[in-house]
C-alpha cells in the first residue's frame, strides 16, 4: 500500500470548488510534485495535507493512519514555505532547533542535530546570526534545515523557490533534491514552474481547475501528455486542426499536436523518417544562443520550430519561404474533450 494516499479530495469555498475529487498515492521516499497554474488547487491540497485547511470531503491517509483525525501539530509533517516563515526573533540555530524543542529532545542532542542540519544546508558559519540580515536563499535554507531536522514523516514544500532569483533557484533546486535523496523522505513539492517540476521530481501530478490532469514521470508528462492542457502547459506545443496540411485524418481526433523541437528544417540530409513536410513563410526568427526559435506561418496556421545548437552565422530573414519536416510518430492526437487518443500511425 502507498505511503501517502489522497482519496477523492474535495474542497469548496462557498460556490467555488478549489479541489474537485483529487486522488493520488505517493510512495515512501518518492519526490512527488504538484504542478499547475495559479488557482489550480495545488496549494489548497498541500495545506490540507499539512492540516491548515480542511477538506470538504475525502480522505488522506499517511502510513495507514487517517490523517484528517490528527490535529496539524501532531501530524509530524515538515513544511517549507514560499515566504520562508523564518522566525525573525530567533537566531538561525534557534530557528532550526525550534521543532526539536517541541519534541523535548535533550539539549545535547539538539545541539548536535542542529549543527548537522546547518552543515547540510551550508549555513554552519551563520548559526548565531539573526535571520533579518540573511539573503532569501539563505533564509530558505534555514527553512529547509528547520523542516528536515525533526525527521518528519513527510516533507511539504510550497513553491519554496519562487521568491528567489533564477540562478539561485537552480542551485537550491539541486540541493533540495540531493538532501531529500540522502534522507530518503517522501516529499510533496508544489510549483507552477514546469521546468522545475521536470527537473526535480520522481513523479509529477499536473492539476488544472481543481482536477488531476495527469500523473506520471517527467518523461511521461512531457513525452505522452494525457490531455491537451498538459501538452500545452508543460513545454510548448503546436496545436493544429485535424485537417491541416493534409495530415492523415483519423476518427475522433480534434487536434494534432507537435513539439517545436520535433519540427525540422528540411534539408538535403533530412533522415528518411521525416517524411511529412509542409511549406510556410518565416514570421520571425529568435536567436537564443543554445537554441533558436522560428515562427512560421503556413496555410493560415502558426507554428513554432526549434533549432538546436544553431550555427553562429544562422540568420533567417522574415518572409523567407521554408520547408519544415516532421516524423508522423511525433504527432500527438487529442479528442474534442482534450483527451489523448491513440491512433495507428503510418510509419
Amino acid at each position: 500500500m502507498a505511503y501517502l494516499q489522497v482519496d477523492g479530495a474535495i474542497k469548496r469555498y462557498g460556490a467555488t470548488t478549489a479541489l474537485d475529487g483529487v486522488s493520488f498515492a505517493v510512495g515512501k521516499g518518492e519526490f512527488f510534485t504538484l504542478l499547475g497554474p495559479s488557482g489550480c488547487g495545488k496549494t489548497t491540497l498541500l495545506r490540507s495535507i499539512a492540516g491548515f485547511s480542511q477538506l470538504s470531503e475525502g480522505r488522506i491517509d499517511l502510513d495507514g493512519v487517517d490523517l484528517l483525525a490528527v490535529p496539524p501539530h501532531r501530524r509530524d509533517i515538515g513544511m517549507v514555505f514560499q515566504d520562508y516563515a523564518i522566525f525573525p526573533h530567533l537566531t538561525v540555530a534557534e530557528n532550526v532547533a525550534f521543532g526539536l524543542k517541541a519534541r523535548k529532545v535533550p539539549a545535547s542532542a539538539i545541539r548536535e542535530r542542529v549543527a548537522e542540519a546547518l552543515a547540510t544546508v551550508r549555513l554552519a558559519a551563520l548559526a548565531d546570526r539573526l535571520p533579518a540580515a540573511l539573503s532569501g536563499g539563505q533564509q530558505q535554507r534555514i527553512g529547509i534545515a528547520r523542516a528536515m531536522v525533526v525527521k518528519p514523516r513527510l516533507l511539504l514544500m510550497d513553491e519554496p523557490l519562487s521568491n528567489l532569483d533564477a540562478k539561485l533557484r537552480l542551485d537550491l533546486r539541486d540541493e533540495i533534491r540531493a538532501i531529500q535523496r540522502t534522507i530518503g523522505i517522501a516529499a510533496i513539492y508544489v510549483t507552477h514552474d514546469q521546468e522545475e517540476a521536470l527537473a526535480i521530481s520522481d513523479r509529477i501530478c499536473v492539476m488544472d481547475g481543481g482536477k488531476v490532469e495527469q500523473i506520471g514521470t517527467p518523461q511521461q508528462i512531457y513525452g505522452q501528455p494525457a490531455t491537451r492542457f498538459v501538452a500545452s502547459f508543460v513545454g510548448t506545443m503546436n496545436l493544429l486542426p485535424p485537417s491541416a496540411f493534409g495530415l492523415p485524418s483519423s476518427d475522433g481526433v480534434a487536434h494534432w499536436a507537435v513539439r517545436p523541437e520535433r519540427l525540422r528544417l528540411s534539408e538535403a540530409d533530412t533522415p528518411a523518417q521525416f517524411a511529412f513536410s509542409l511549406t510556410g513563410a518565416v514570421e520571425h526568427f529568435t536567436y537564443l544562443g543554445r537554441e533558436a526559435h522560428l515562427t512560421v506561418s503556413a496555410q493560415g496556421h502558426r507554428l513554432v520550430a526549434q533549432i538546436a545548437a544553431p550555427p553562429p552565422d544562422l540568420s533567417i530573414e522574415a518572409g523567407r519561404e521554408i520547408q519544415l519536416a516532421l516524423d508522423l510518430r511525433d504527432l500527438h492526437a487529442f479528442d474534442s474533450e482534450g483527451r489523448r487518443v491513440t491512433v495507428g500511425r503510418a510509419a
Binding site: 492540516g51 509533517i77 517541541a102
Partner: protein
C-alpha cells in the same frame, strides 16, 4: 503514534475554543460599555423632564435659537479648524518632506509637543499672551499698536489651527515622503509643467493622507470643549452646551445633554462617511525604489521656508512652553510674583499628591486593560475573517466618533441607577478611558499581526507546537514591541484625558487634567502650569519609550 490514533475524528477540535471565548467577551464588553450606554443616551433624548416619551428635546434642538446657534457654531469651528489645520499642516508637511530644513528633528519634536499638550492649558497660554491683559498684546499696545484680544470665534479658530495641524502634518509628510520620485519624474518627462505635475500627480497621491488628517482635525475640533469654553466668551458649541446642560447646578437636564451629545455623534459620523467616500478608491501602494530627495533652497526662499516652519512649530508648541515657564514662576498663593521659584511644585507635593496618584493609577489600570483586551480582540479581528468579526471591527469604530463629553454623559445615563451603579467611583473613570482608547489598541495590534502573517504560526504548528503554544512562542514575541509601544501611546492619551473625566469625577477621583481645569477656572494658574508640566514630562517619557521600541514614527501618535 498511539497519541495520534487515539484522537477522535473531529475536525473542529483543534480550532481552539479560546478565540470564541474572546469574541464572546469582546461583545460583552462592547455591549456593556458602549452599546448599552449609547442606547440609553438615545432613549433618554426622547424623554421629557417628567420621564414621558416625547420629541421635546429634539424639537428644542432645532427651534431654540441658542441650540441652533451652537449647531452652526460647531460647524464653524469644525470647518474653520479643518481649514486652519490643513493650511498649516500641509505647508509644514511640504517643507519638512521635500526641503532641507535646519533643525528638522527639533521641529518634529515641537509638533509632538503640540499634539500632547494637556487640554485647556493651550487655551490658557494663548490668553496669557494675547488675552485682554496678555503680555504680547500689552506690549504691542504700549508701542501704540492696537491688537484685539484673542477671545471669540477667531481666537478659537487660531488656537485650533495650531493645535490640530500636527494631524495633517504627520500624515501628509509621511505620504509625501513615500511618493515614488519616478512618478513625478515620469510626469515631468511626459511634458507637464511643475504646477500641473503637483496638481495632477502629487496632490492626488497625498489626498488620502490629507483628507484623513483633515478628518482627525475636524472631529477633534467639533469635540473640543475646553477651547471654546475658555476663549469663546459666549461663543457656544454643541460640546459646551452638552456639558452645561449636564452640569447646570440648577435644573440639570440629562435629556437635553444626551440630545446634544447625539447631535454631536451624528455630525462626526457624517464627516467620517464623507471622508471615507472621498478616499474610497484612493489606496495607493507604491514601491520605494526611488525616494524623493530633499531639495536645498537658497536665498529668500530658504529664509521664507524656515520662517514658515518655525512659526508653525513654535506656535503649536507655545502652550506647552508657556506652561513650563509659568510652572517655575514665583507665586504667592494663586498670584504670580516677579522672579522664579518652585512654589507651585511644592504646593502640588503638599496638597495634590492624591491627584497625581489618581492620574497615574487610573491611566495605569486603563492601559493594562486596553493592552490585554485590545491585543486579544486585535488578534481575533486580524485572524478570523467572518461576518461576526467584521461587525466587531465596525462596532469598534463607534468610539472614534464619540466625543469625550458624550462618553461621560452616556456613562452617567447608564451607571447611575441599579443594577450597575458606578458613578462616583474610580472604576467608571477607568472604564471610560478604556472604551475610548480600546479601538486604537485593537487597530494597532491587528496591524502588527497582519504584518507577521499566518505562515509564521503555521511553521510553528508544523514543527509540533499546538496553536495556542505557537501563538505564545512565535506571534506574541513578534508583536510585543508594537504592543508595548501602543501601550505607551495609550498611556499618553489616558493620562491627558479630560472631557469624559470632567463629567464623571467626584471629589475623590480628581485627576490631573480635571484639576488643571478647576485650577484655571479658579485663577490658580501656577498650579495649572506645574500640573501641565508634570503631564508633559510623563507623556514625553512614554513617547520616548515607544519610539525606542517601535522606531521613531510620529504618526503612531495619532
Amino acid at each position: 503514534m498511539s497519541a495520534i490514533a487515539d484522537t477522535p475524528r473531529q475536525r473542529s477540535r483543534w480550532q481552539p475554543d479560546f478565540w470564541s471565548l474572546v469574541a464572546f467577551a469582546a461583545w460583552a464588553i462592547l455591549i456593556l460599555l458602549l452599546l448599552m450606554p449609547l442606547s440609553l443616551v438615545l432613549v433618554s433624548s426622547f424623554r421629557d423632564e417628567s420621564g414621558g416619551l416625547s420629541l421635546a428635546n429634539w424639537q428644542r434642538l432645532f427651534t431654540s435659537a441658542r441650540y441652533f446657534n451652537a449647531f452652526v457654531n460647531t460647524l464653524i469651528v469644525g470647518f474653520g479648524g479643518l481649514a486652519g489645520a490643513l493650511l498649516l499642516g500641509s505647508v509644514m508637511a511640504f517643507c519638512m518632506a521635500r526641503l532641507q530644513i535646519a533643525g528638522s528633528r527639533l521641529v518634529s519634536m515641537l509638533a509632538i509637543l503640540a499634539l500632547v499638550s494637556p487640554p485647556f492649558i493651550g487655551a490658557y497660554s494663548w490668553i496669557v499672551l494675547f488675552g485682554s491683559g496678555g503680555i504680547v498684546r500689552q506690549t504691542l499696545m504700549s508701542w501704540g499698536i492696537f491688537m484685539p484680544p484673542i477671545y471669540g470665534v477667531w481666537g478659537v479658530l487660531i488656537v485650533f489651527a495650531f493645535k490640530f495641524y500636527p494631524y495633517v502634518y504627520l500624515l501628509t509628510s509621511g505620504a509625501l515622503a513615500n511618493i515614488n520620485r519616478s512618478l513625478e519624474e515620469a510626469a515631468e518627462n511626459l511634458g507637464l509643467t511643475p504646477f500641473q505635475r503637483v496638481m495632477k500627480v502629487s496632490f492626488p497621491l497625498v489626498l488620502p493622507a490629507l483628507s484623513a488628517g483633515g478628518l482627525l482635525a475636524l472631529i477633534h475640533a467639533i469635540a473640543d470643549f475646553g477651547t471654546p469654553r475658555l476663549l469663546g466668551r459666549g461663543f457656544n458649541v454643541l460640546a459646551t452646551e452638552a456639558y452645561t446642560a449636564y452640569s447646570a447646578e440648577i435644573g440639570s437636564n440629562l435629556g437635553m445633554a444626551t440630545t446634544l451629545s447625539l447631535a454631536l455623534i451624528l455630525l462626526s459620523m457624517v464627516f467620517v462617511f464623507i471622508q471615507r467616500f472621498m478616499s474610497r478608491r484612493n489606496v495607493y501602494h507604491s514601491n520605494l525604489i526611488n525616494r524623493p530627495e530633499k531639495v536645498r533652497l537658497r536665498g529668500f526662499a530658504n529664509v521664507a521656508a524656515h520662517a514658515a516652519v518655525y512659526f508653525i512649530a513654535l506656535g503649536g508648541a507655545m502652550p506647552a512652553i508657556i506652561a513650563a515657564i509659568y510652572s517655575v514662576r514665583k507665586t504667592n498663593g494663586p498670584v504670580f510674583q516677579p522672579g522664579f521659584g518652585l512654589e507651585s511644585y511644592s504646593r502640588i507635593i503638599a496638597t495634590l499628591g492624591d491627584v497625581v496618584r489618581n492620574s497615574l493609577v487610573f491611566s495605569g489600570v486603563a492601559v493594562l486593560l486596553i493592552v490585554v483586551v485590545g491585543t486579544l480582540i486585535g488578534c481575533l479581528v486580524a485572524r478570523r475573517n467572518t461576518v461576526q468579526t467584521s461587525l466587531l471591527d465596525a462596532t469598534l469604530m463607534v468610539p472614534y466618533v464619540m466625543p469625550g463629553i458624550v462618553v461621560g454623559v452616556a456613562f452617567i445615563a447608564a451607571f447611575n441607577t441599579p443594577p450597575l451603579v458606578m458613578t462616583g467611583t474610580a472604576t467608571i473613570i477607568i472604564l471610560s478611558v478604556f472604551i475610548r482608547r480600546l479601538p486604537y489598541a485593537v487597530r494597532s495590534s491587528a496591524a502588527a499581526l497582519r504584518q507577521v502573517g499566518p505562515s509564521m504560526e503555521e511553521a510553528a504548528i508544523s514543527l509540533g507546537y499546538s496553536p495556542v503554544k505557537a501563538f505564545l512562542r512565535v506571534t506574541i514575541p513578534l508583536i510585543a514591541p508594537g504592543i508595548i509601544a501602543g501601550a505607551m501611546l495609550s498611556f499618553v492619551t489616558a493620562i491627558n484625558e479630560l472631557s469624559s473625566s470632567l463629567v464623571l469625577y467626584v471629589g475623590g477621583t480628581v485627576t490631573m487634567p480635571v484639576k488643571i481645569y478647576i485650577a484655571i477656572n479658579d485663577g490658580d494658574y501656577g498650579t495649572a502650569a506645574s500640573l501641565s508640566t508634570i503631564l508633559l514630562v510623563l507623556s514625553g517619557a512614554a513617547i520616548y519609550l515607544a519610539f525606542r521600541l517601535l522606531g521613531r514614527d510620529e504618526r503612531a501618535l495619532l
